[in-house]
């Protein structure tokens, strides 16, 4: 039986601040009118209402991270020669990620399958993952744009998390989900949850039951693929798309990146930064050829990746966790749910047509 504790509302912030003595605490705080995950300090304004504007993904995949540094110098022996030194820079920050939502944490499992894949371990990601304890906060007020229940998740689920916080009367029930979450909780000066775990379970169930019952968006890998050559469909759904990167960058599962060198004088860095499949440059080849030169082709790959290619490669798991940030923040209010629904309907209609 894993540890369950309770913390009263007024004890939460002091407790989180006490954790900052030994590690970084990332939590949803108000920054300039937005709610973003940022290092918590005494001046932070914690905001636990609803979903943060940006996802928690930067905790594990920073928007910009240095892979290594390099330094050029003149060779001592042969002055015409230049010598080069490389210095690996690996993350070592212990972090407690608090207040991520179940969708945010589930996003981490999408990364895990790609970044921690057997022999191809990405040590930057894996180091961060190992040093970050993920505490999710069960949702009590899903927005209209939330659809975690349609993509294999739920407002009280714990995939990808170590600890689960559930709001109950007067405070939170804090339950360990993994062994390391358990080890952490055992060390914390929190009171026993006692029978409040039952109350927490009911809270989660009630929220889950109240979510609209709509068709799941899983298991449609082949449907999306059937439409690959249906130019009219992709152009139609993409006509209003601006081809910007707001959806990708706010998405808790989008993990594509770019690598670039930046140098000043003799010192430089190779950095990796978030990249965006909706950008023209993403697949532009040296020759000038671009396999996805139109926004329709790029959207086809984006939807394909999330709902077809990724699930095909990873046991049916989608690369979408239903947080709805791409819907809320899209400058032209595109709706990924509607696109996938339309794709399925169109593919089904085609199949029927063939069978007629």
């Amino acid at each position: 039986m894993l540890t369950a504790r309770y913390i009263a509302n007024d004890k939460l912030l002091p407790w989180l601040l006490s954790l900052t003595e030994t590690r970084q605490v990332l939590a949803p705080v108000q920054v300039g009118g937005q709610t973003l995950f940022a290092p918590l300090d005494a001046d932070s304004r914690l905001d636990l209402k609803g979903l943060a504007d940006a996802s928690a993904k930067a905790a594990l995949l920073p928007r910009c991270e240095t892979l290594f540094e390099f330094h050029y110098s003149k060779s001592e022996g042969v002055p015409s020669r230049t010598e080069l030194e490389l210095r690996e820079t690996l993350p070592d920050q212990e972090t407690f990620l608090f207040g991520a939502r179940p969708c945010d944490a589930k996003g981490f499992t999408v990364f895990d399958r790609v970044y921690d894949a057997g022999t191809r371990r990405d040590i930057y990601y894996c180091s961060r993952r190992d040093k970050t304890l993920v505490a999710v906060l069960a949702c009590t007020d899903p927005a209209d744009t939330c659809f975690c229940n349609r993509v294999g998740g739920g407002p009280g689920e714990t995939d990808g998390a170590d600890i689960l916080f559930t709001p109950v009367k007067g405070g939170f029930v804090v339950e360990a989900v993994t062994e390391r979450g358990d080890a952490f909780l055992l060390e914390q000066p929190l009171v026993e949850a006692e029978d409040r775990t039952e109350e927490a379970r009911k809270v989660r169930e009630a929220v889950s039951d109240a979510m609209p019952d709509e068709a799941p968006l899983v298991g449609i890998q082949s449907k999306v693929l059937e439409l690959f050559d249906d130019k009219g469909f992709w152009e139609g759904i993409t006509s209003k798309c601006l081809s910007c990167g707001a959806c990708s960058y706010l998405c808790p599962t989008c993990y594509c990146f770019n690598m670039t060198d930046e140098i000043k004088g003799d010192d430089g860095v190779r950095i990796r930064t978030w990249d965006n499949c909706m950008s023209f440059q993403f697949t532009l080849e040296g020759s000038g050829h671009n396999p996805r030169d139109g926004k329709a082709q790029r959207m086809r790959n984006r939807i394909g990746h999330k709902f077809s290619y990724y699930p095909e490669l990873h046991d049916g798991n989608l690369a979408c966790v239903g947080c709805g940030r791409c819907i809320v923040h899209c400058p032209v209010s595109m709706d990924v749910r509607a696109i996938v629904d339309q794709a399925r309907d169109r593919a089904l209609a085609k199949e029927e047509h063939v069978n007629d």
Binding site: L67, R81, L86, C126, E285, G286, H289, R292
Partner: protein
């Protein structure tokens, strides 16, 4: 997990340029060795695999290793000048430092090709990936049947590997045909498009493999020509070029459907390609 018990996928090995060969007006070949002698000794790759070359401060770009695993004095990369990184590579001289992440990707099915006749069809810089397999086969000559090579370029001065062509033309254990789109008075070989010359050569498809690489339009018509000669899709092998960054199937840009060219490719049979969404 600590950094010491895992390899860093993104950290290049330091290497030194030993020799630079000006192949054509816009192609240079770089012969490099890893700075760590042990690493160089331990280095293994298979024909068709690629590597990422770094010019620190500019960036990284993907090139096929076009030397043969049977000749490990150096690793050879041929670079056509097309953009920022290739531009900077072209400025490098022997003794300069570069980074290498290699080998990456899959290789030509050289085991399955044993005992078969092999037809190489290369166009322009597309000859580079064929070279590694050709050299490998010439060094293991008894394992393979007839070897024929058709190499085409825009003009005689656009032919890379000119230092090797006389040997390939003279060898009795292979047939070599060269063609250019635009001839010169002293050009003694074919003038004409690769697919047309291929049809004239008419290699037998029986117990054979065709390996082709070149510009997309050339590939398209070469495959048509191969089909007309009786080659089926399983007998046609090609190697793809895509924009790549990570080289290990993570960063997300080189996929065609579920396949990542950097990891699952760059070598595909035409039969495999036809299974993939049409997004070349």
């Amino acid at each position: 997990m600590t950094s010491t018990d895992a390899t860093n996928l993104y950290l290049p090995d330091m290497a030194t340029i030993q020799e630079v060969i000006q192949e054509t007006s816009n192609i240079k070949t770089f012969r490099i060795t890893l700075n760590n002698p042990d690493a160089m000794r331990r280095f293994r790759f298979e024909p068709g695999q690629v590597g990422q070359l770094s010019v620190f401060g500019v960036g990284e770009s993907t090139f096929v290793i076009n030397s043969s695993p049977t000749r490990m004095d150096y690793l050879q990369f041929s670079v056509m000048r097309v953009g920022e990184i290739t531009e900077k590579l072209h400025k490098l001289r022997p003794g300069d430092q570069v980074g290498v992440r290699a080998p990456l990707g899959n290789c030509f099915p050289y085991e399955d090709m044993k005992g078969k006749d092999i037809v190489f069809v290369g166009g322009g810089i597309g000859m580079a990936p064929l070279r590694t397999l050709l050299l490998y086969m010439l060094d293991n000559r008894e394992d393979y049947g007839k070897i024929s090579l058709l190499y085409g370029a825009r003009s005689p001065s656009d032919m890379a590997f000119s230092y090797e062509l006389p040997e390939w033309l003279e060898r009795e254990d292979m047939t070599t045909e060269l063609t250019v789109d635009n001839g010169t008075p002293d050009w003694k070989h074919h003038v004409g498009l690769i697919p047309n010359v291929l049809k004239e050569m008419a290699p037998s498809a029986e117990n054979a493999f065709a390996v082709t690489c070149g510009p997309p339009i050339m590939i398209k018509f070469t495959i048509e020509a191969l089909h007309s000669l009786g080659f089926n899709d399983e007998q046609i092998v090609t190697t793809l070029e895509k924009r790549m960054k990570c080289g290990v199937g993570i960063c997300g840009r080189c996929n065609i459907g579920t396949k990542y060219v950097c990891k699952d490719g760059p070598v595909f049979t035409y039969a495999q390609l036809r299974q993939l969404p049409n997004e070349l």
